[in-house]
Amino acid sequence: MRATLFFRASCATCAFACGLAASARANPLDAFGFGSRQTAMAGAVSADVHDFSANYYNPAGLALAQRMELSIGYMNVDQSLKINGLDSGVDPVRGLVGGLVAPGVIAGIPFAFGFAIHLPDDRLSRVRAEQQDQPRWELYDNRNQRLYLAASLAVSPWPWLQLGGGLSFMSSTTGSINISGQLDIFQSDDSQVRHSVDADLTAIRYPEFGARITPTKDWAVAVVYRGQFSLSLDLNATLQGNISSLTTAYYDLQTTSVNNFLPQQVVLGNSWEPVKGLHASFDLTWVNWSAYVPPVSDVNVVLNIPAPKGGWPAGITPPTTPAPTAILPIVMHDRIVPRVGVEWRAFHADHWEGFVRGGYEYDKTPIGAQTGETNYIDRDRHAFSLGLGGRAVDLIPELPRDLRLDVHAQLSELPTGTTLKASPADFIGDYTAGGHIWNVGVTLTAGF
């Protein structure tokens, strides 16, 4: 009966997903997973997670932790993405992953605190606001180059219900630069300018909530909400200069851009243990891509250079105010991402357990056809995952009580597709794009 119910639920969600198609590549975790066990199961773990990665997949899962756990790991993602058969040089994503879970009991109610971090090797965050016609792998290039930091709390008021919530943190940048001085247009070496910079990194928090219900002993369902955030970059520049004692020029520049936009997401998941030692999971993630804000700078310039008395010297034509940026809209579609994961306890002994895992994820690109001037490149993605895990429990007194080592490998295939430009006079022209991405990693967890 339960098997039939699970089967029907999975079939229904599969059909729904295939009809609407999918994508959820908003940050390194959305794109490549978090933790080796979870990545090996293609991220289909919202109803089956209880370690540090629950901070991302489902905070409610933290309440399932039996003991304090500390996890540390590493992931390395090499992206071989090509345009016209040539590598686009998309940066790898690599860095430490880790976190902790600290469970406890208050008034007889189990609770847990969790903390998780993805710390990139190369940079904490990167700002790239390209020209909107410059081709770029929109969901793989800049968006995944950032820190992830989250803290969560979870409770289990009843054994069949876990609730959790947390906050993730980022910072946006607001700054200004002021330049003033003397500009000598006849002898530029005599120009003298002074400048000052005032920049502010302001904290941005976005929420995540989750619930997990176990209708039966071997079946769990989950629902998770991840909030939306915009990582903005606002810069103002003011230039005031006395030009060769002829006149005073004023130049005011304001740029506003959203460097990273994470759309809100809702995850529905379930996990089933049909036989002892075998877990099957299926997640659907709705991603609100239609609210996407492209990372293009909105630039406004005011240039005021009054003519000197008697007019400009011969041969000197003052510049005029450039036209403001006309940002072309990007067409994005909401998507639903299906994920399937399986975990099999391949062997077990008194103090040992070994696991084999696999998963599949399908991301249909949310980006509309790039037939016009913009070139936000993306392709559908098929991600195949495999993983192994080992667990030692109470092996020897000198080791932590529960020691787990998990490894994963994931191959994402982006089939090559062709973009046809509507205008033959397009500066970029037709192109083909596709490629693959390798993601490997390891996670060590110690429970005390």
């Binding site: 090797d121 990167r126 000198e398 033959p424 022209g429 110690a446």
Partner: protein, 377 residues
Amino acid sequence: MRARVLLAPAAMALLVLSCATLGDEGPEGLNLPTSGVGPFRKLADDEVLGIAPYVLDGAGAKYREPSALALDADPSSARVALYVTATQNIKGVIHTAIMRTHADDARSFYGTSLDPTDGDAPALVLDAGAAWEEGNLHSPSVLRVGGVIYLYYAAAGGIGVATSTDGLTFTKRATPVLATDAPLTWETTPPTQPSVAVFPSGVWHMFYAAANSIGEATSPDGLTWTRADANPATPAIDPVFSPLPFDVTTLAPDASPPFDSGQVADPYVSPRVTAAGRLQVRVLYTGYDTLPGAASRQSAIGFAARYGDSGPLVRNATPVYSVGLHEAAPTLFEWSVGTMLYVNQDSSTTPVYPSIAAAIAPVTVTLNMPKTYATSP
């Protein structure tokens, strides 16, 4: 004991954490696709010998209307020849003729006046002689087909052609290959400023200027030409490209009219097959903001194109090169580093005269400082 075991991995984790964040900037967009026709950036002072962006200069010769010819089949080679219109004074007769020079690095051309070597000058390769030429040749367009170099040029009576095997000694055909066609309503002036390419189908295509528009002709052999009709739906033969009509009353305050609203001229055709397998006929041209003869006339280099062997061209509203120095007559040299654009534009000296300037695309490409000028034309 367990506390110690707890501290050990925590300390290890902190140590590893402290070693992270050691990355570099990372590349930004390698091997990006492009149509190969700009936008272009004029060469900088540290990219040319002499005064940037000029690569061929002569106050007396007034080099202009360049046409580039790759000298090697190897796409990584920067050896290129330029055929230019030059003013000549032979026995007191001032007229225009076609001269040739070359560079080994796409920039340092033999015979420029900025070369300190005395006596150097581009080679005279084609001069007027036939009656229909009326003493002046100009607007060269050169291409290599098989082992033969075809040099098309304009004169008073239309467009002629000469052929060569070494690029220096040419044999002219006696009569123009494209002359005035009186019944054509839009060609109110003789055809001029030719640009010729052989399309993948094997058909020769010539784009040429007349009046204020650009027309097209086709040929099976490069010698016998038939005008093409851009719009077969009308009874007349139509040009493939005309100035963009606009209504001045609809112009926004402080807005300028389209850069090519007065005249389009100096076509340069370069066909290619796109990554999707479509034939893209790329045409660079000079766009003027007013009609011929108007005072304070401004120009810029534009880009128009079409898919397929026939039909009208579609413009890109943004010029690919615009410096406000009466830039005109574009030609391209495509090599593995990027695409070089050569135009004639006002010199940086007083009095002003036309000189050949160079620009490059993609704009992110930077060139090393050249070492020496070429030593032969």
